[in-house]
C-alpha cells in the first residue's frame, strides 16, 4: 500500500548543508560544573520554582512546577546544589535575562527514583496524569506543552503525524535521532497513539535523509504505522505544511490541525515521551546540532541548562573568523546575544556564523511589487501587501491580510530581490498586535472590576440609608404611640414617677458605706466634691449610664 503524497504551495530549495553535521553519531556531552536552568523553556506561563538557594537536588528532581494549564514542569539536569534562583541570560531574541535556577553539579549525577510505567495496561487518562509533571514540550521548536496536546479535544483525533521532515538547512538532530534510535521513537509514537486514540500513524520524512527513512521503516515493519517520504522542499517540516503533504487537507485559517482531526508531534518529542513513560525519566536532555564555522560539527546529547559556550568548546571551539552564533536554522533562527545562555528545550541547533557562510544581507531596496514573495509563500499570503502595512504601522490593515496565518518561515525574505527583511516586519506587527490584545484584555478586566466597585459603593450607600431610615422610623413610631394613646401616656408617666421615687428612696436609705469615721479634712473634701457635682447638675451620685459608655470610647478613637 502506498501513501499518496500531496503538495503545498510555494516553498524553497535552499542549500541544505546537512552533510557537515550528520556524519557522526550522537555524542553524549560530559557533565559541566554549572547548569543554568531557565523556568521559561516552553510556550505559556513560566514554571514556578519550588527550590531555593542552598537546596540539594538530584537528577530528574522536580525543581519548578507548571503554573496554569499551558505551562510545563522543569527538572534538575544533574545532582548538585542550587546556588541561586535569579535572572540569568537565556537564548531569546530579546537578549533579556530570565529567571533561572543555577545548579552547581556535584559530579555524582545521582538520580531520583524513576518509575517506569506499563503504559499498555494503563487507561489514557491515568497515563496523562503521570505525564503532566514530566516537563515534556514539543522539541521541534514551538515548545508547546505536550500534555496539553495529548489531552482529548472536542474532536476525536483520527490521524497522528510524526514530523521527521527536518526541512531547515544545517539542522540534523532529528536525522541522527531517527537513524540511531528509531525503535524508541516509534515506541513513543505508539504511546501517543494510545493516548490520543488515533487510528492512523504517519511518519513524514524528507527524501534527503535516506538512512533515517530506512531506519524508521525497519522500526515500523510489522506495525501499522507508515513512513511517508516527502520531497525535499522547505518548509515541509512546518506542521500545517506536513499535514497538507501527507493528507491533502489544509488547516483552515485561525484553526489548528486538531480541528480537522489531526495531531502532529516532532520525532524528538516522541523519543522524549518514550523515555518519560518507559524509563520514568523527565525531560532533562535533548539532542542539539552544533554546526557551521566550528572545528567538529556534529550532534550532541546535552543536559538542559548546559551553557552554550561549553557545548561549542565540546565541538572543538569556534574556528578563526567566527562572527557569532545562530540559534535554530538560518531561515527562522535568531542571533544569540551571549554564549553564556544555556541550552533549553527549544534549542535544536547552534550554528557558528562567519562572513563566508553567512554574508551580511545587502542593503534593503524599495519593494518593486515583483510578486516573487507571493509565489514563495507556503500559506498563499500576499507578503508585499502585509509588508507595506506593517512598515506603515497600519496593523489593522496588515491583520486584514491574514498576518496571523504567517508561519514566519522566511521564504519571502529569502527570495526578495530587494533584500527586504520581510519577516522582521511581520514579527514586529504580530507582537504589536499581541500586545494590543493583552492590553484590551486588561482593560476588560479593569472595566469589570470598576463596575463591581461602583456597584458595591452604591449598594453600601443604599444599605446605610435604609438602616438609618429604619432607625428613624422606629423612633418616630415609639413617639407616635406615646402621643396618640392616652392610656399609654398615663402608664409612661406612672412608670417615670415610680422610677424617680425609687431613685430618691435609694439615695436616702443607702449612704456610701465608707463614710463613717472620716477625718474633718476628708469630710471637707467630700463636701466640696458634692458641691461641684450639684453645680454640674448631676444631683445624686449615680454612675454614667452603661449604654453611654461605648459611645464615649468610640469618640475617643
Amino acid at each position: 500500500m502506498t501513501q499518496p503524497i500531496y503538495s503545498f504551495p510555494g516553498g524553497l530549495h535552499p542549500a541544505d548543508h546537512k552533510a557537515e553535521s550528520n556524519g557522526r553519531p550522537i555524542a553524549a556531552a560530559p557533565l559541566v560544573p554549572r547548569y543554568q536552568v531557565p523556568l521559561r523553556q516552553h510556550a505559556g506561563q513560566p514554571a514556578k520554582a519550588i527550590v531555593h538557594a542552598g537546596d540539594t537536588v538530584l537528577r530528574g528532581q522536580l525543581i519548578a512546577i507548571p503554573d496554569g494549564r499551558i505551562s510545563a514542569a522543569v527538572h534538575a539536569p544533574t545532582s548538585g546544589r542550587v546556588v541561586a534562583v535569579g535572572p540569568h541570560p537565556v537564548a531569546h531574541p530579546s537578549g533579556l535575562a530570565d529567571l533561572s535556577v543555577v545548579i552547581e553539579a556535584d559530579g555524582r549525577d545521582e538520580a531520583v527514583a524513576m518509575m517506569p510505567l506499563a503504559w499498555r495496561d494503563m487507561d489514557p487518562a491515568e497515563l496523562r496524569e503521570h505525564l503532566a509533571d514530566m516537563g515534556l514540550v514539543g522539541l521541534g521548536g514551538a515548545v508547546f506543552p505536550s500534555h496539553v496536546k495529548l489531552a482529548p479535544g472536542p474532536l476525536a483525533i483520527d490521524t497522528l503525524i510524526l514530523n521527521g521532515a527536518e526541512c531547515e538547512p544545517w539542522i540534523t538532530c532529528d536525522d541522527r535521532l531517527m537513524r540511531e534510535r528509531a525503535a524508541e521513537v516509534m515506541r513513543g509514537a505508539e504511546i501517543m497513539r494510545h493516548l490520543l486514540g488515533a487510528r492512523e500513524l504517519l511518519v513524514g520524512i524528507e527524501d534527503n535523509k535516506p538512512e533515517a527513512v530506512a531506519a524508521m521503516q525497519a522500526a515500523c515493519a510489522g506495525g501499522n504505522a507508515r513512513v511517508v517520504v516527502v520531497p525535499t522542499r522547505y518548509p515541509s517540516g512546518g506542521a500545517k505544511q506536513l499535514v497538507q503533504l501527507l493528507t491533502g487537507l489544509e488547516v483552515p485559517t485561525g484553526k489548528l490541525s486538531t480541528d480537522i482531526g489531526i495531531q502532529v508531534f516532532n520525532v524528538a518529542t516522541a523519543y522524549a515521551l518514550q523515555r518519560a513513560v518507559e524509563l520514568g525519566e523527565p525531560l532533562i536532555s535533548r539532542i542539539v546540532t552544533v554546526t557551521g564555522h566550528v572545528a567538529r560539527p556534529g550532534n550532541y546529547e546535552v543536559r538542559l541548562g548546559t551553557p552554550i559556550a561549553e557545548l561549542i568548546a565540546l565541538a572543538g571551539g569556534e574556528l578563526p573568523g567566527a562572527s557569532g552564533q545562530l540559534i535554530g536554522g538560518p531561515l527562522m533562527g535568531f542571533d544569540l546575544d551571549t554564549p553564556q545562555a544555556p541550552v533549553t528545550k527549544g534549542v535544536n541547533c547552534i550554528i557558528i556564523t562567519s562572513a563566508d557562510l553567512f554574508p551580511p544581507r545587502p542593503r534593503a531596496m524599495p519593494c518593486t511589487r515583483c510578486g516573487l514573495c507571493a509565489q514563495a509563500c507556503p500559506v498563499r499570503l500576499q507578503p508585499y501587501e502585509m509588508y507595506l502595512y506593517a512598515r506603515a504601522k497600519d496593523l489593522d490593515k496588515a491583520r486584514a491580510y491574514n498576518l496571523a496565518d504567517c508561519i514566519e518561515c522566511g521564504c519571502c525574505s529569502y527570495v526578495c530581490p530587494s533584500h527586504i527583511p520581510l519577516v522582521d516586519y511581520y514579527r514586529f506587527a504580530k507582537s504589536e498586535l499581541a500586545a494590543r490584545e493583552r492590553e484590551q484584555h486588561a482593560a476588560e478586566l479593569a472595566r469589570e472590576r470598576h463596575d463591581f466597585h461602583s456597584e458595591r459603593l452604591e449598594r453600601e450607600k443604599r444599605e446605610k440609608a435604609e438602616r438609618l431610615g429604619r432607625k428613624a422610623s422606629e423612633r418616630l413610631e415609639a413617639g407616635a404611640v406615646a402621643a396618640d394613646d392616652p392610656e399609654a401616656a398615663r402608664k409612661k408617666a406612672l412608670l417615670e414617677a415610680a422610677v424617680e421615687r425609687a431613685r430618691k428612696a435609694k439615695e436616702a436609705a443607702a449612704p456610701p458605706a465608707n463614710t463613717d469615721h472620716l477625718s474633718p479634712a476628708q469630710q471637707a473634701e467630700i463636701e466640696a466634691i458634692e458641691a461641684r457635682r450639684a453645680q454640674a447638675g448631676l444631683g445624686g451620685g449615680s454612675a454614667p449610664a452603661p449604654d453611654e459608655q461605648p459611645d464615649t470610647v468610640a469618640e475617643k478613637t
Partner: protein
C-alpha cells in the same frame, strides 16, 4: 373625495400608533455611542482626562463636551480609534499630557499603618487589607492610575515602572544603520 381623506387619515393614525408603540417598546436606555467610546478607553479609571473615570469621559465625548485627545494612557492609538469612530480629525495628545510608561503601585509594607484610605481610593479594588492591618496591592489587576498615592498619609506607596521581560518583549520595528560608502568605492 371624503373616502380618500378618511383612508389617508386612517393610515396615518395606524402608522402613528405603530410608531408610538415602537418608541416605547424598543426604547434605547443609554446612548449606544457611549458604550462604543467606553470600549476604546483603557479603563485605568485614572481621571487624568479631568473626568471621574472612563465612563464619565465617554459620556462627555458623546455629548460633545470633551475633546478626544485627553486620555494619556490610551495613547495615540486610542485617539486614532476615537477619531475613526466619531468621524473627526485625529489630533495629538492635549497640551501637557504625555503617556507614562506602564506602572504598578507598590506599598512599602514597613511603613503602612493600615488606614484603609488607599483601599477606598482604588477604583478597581486592587488593594487588599483592613483597618490597622498591613495593605498590599494585587499587581495583576492594578491599572497604574496613581489614585492611591495622594490619600496615603505616610507616603508609603510608590509607582514602579513595569519592565519588559522575556514574556512581554516585542519584536522591534526594523531599523537599519545608515553607513556612509567608504571613500573610493562609489
Amino acid at each position: 373625495m371624503l373616502s380618500a381623506i378618511l383612508v389617508m387619515a386612517a393610515i396615518g393614525l395606524a402608522l402613528g400608533v405603530i410608531l408610538g408603540w415602537a418608541e416605547v417598546r424598543f426604547k434605547v436606555a443609554d446612548n449606544p455611542l457611549v458604550d462604543k467610546i467606553d470600549k476604546i478607553l483603557p479603563q485605568t479609571q485614572c481621571g487624568q482626562c479631568g473626568f471621574p473615570g472612563c465612563r464619565p469621559y465617554a459620556e462627555a465625548i458623546a455629548r460633545h463636551e470633551a475633546d478626544i485627545n485627553l486620555c494619556p494612557p490610551g495613547g495615540e492609538h486610542g485617539i486614532r480609534q476615537l477619531a475613526d469612530l466619531l468621524g473627526v480629525e485625529f489630533k495629538p495628545l492635549g497640551e501637557g499630557r504625555a503617556p507614562k510608561p506602564k506602572s504598578v503601585a507598590i506599598i512599602d509594607e514597613n511603613l503602612c499603618i493600615g488606614c484603609t484610605l488607599c483601599i477606598q481610593a482604588c477604583p478597581v479594588d486592587a488593594i487588599v487589607g483592613s483597618s490597622k492591618q498591613m495593605h498590599t496591592i494585587v499587581a495583576d489587576v492594578c491599572t497604574g492610575c496613581e489614585l492611591c498615592l495622594a490619600p496615603c498619609p505616610v507616603d508609603c506607596i510608590h509607582m514602579e515602572v513595569i519592565h519588559e521581560n522575556v514574556g512581554s518583549w516585542k519584536w522591534r520595528y526594523p531599523v537599519f544603520p545608515i553607513h556612509s560608502e567608504p571613500a573610493g568605492t562609489a
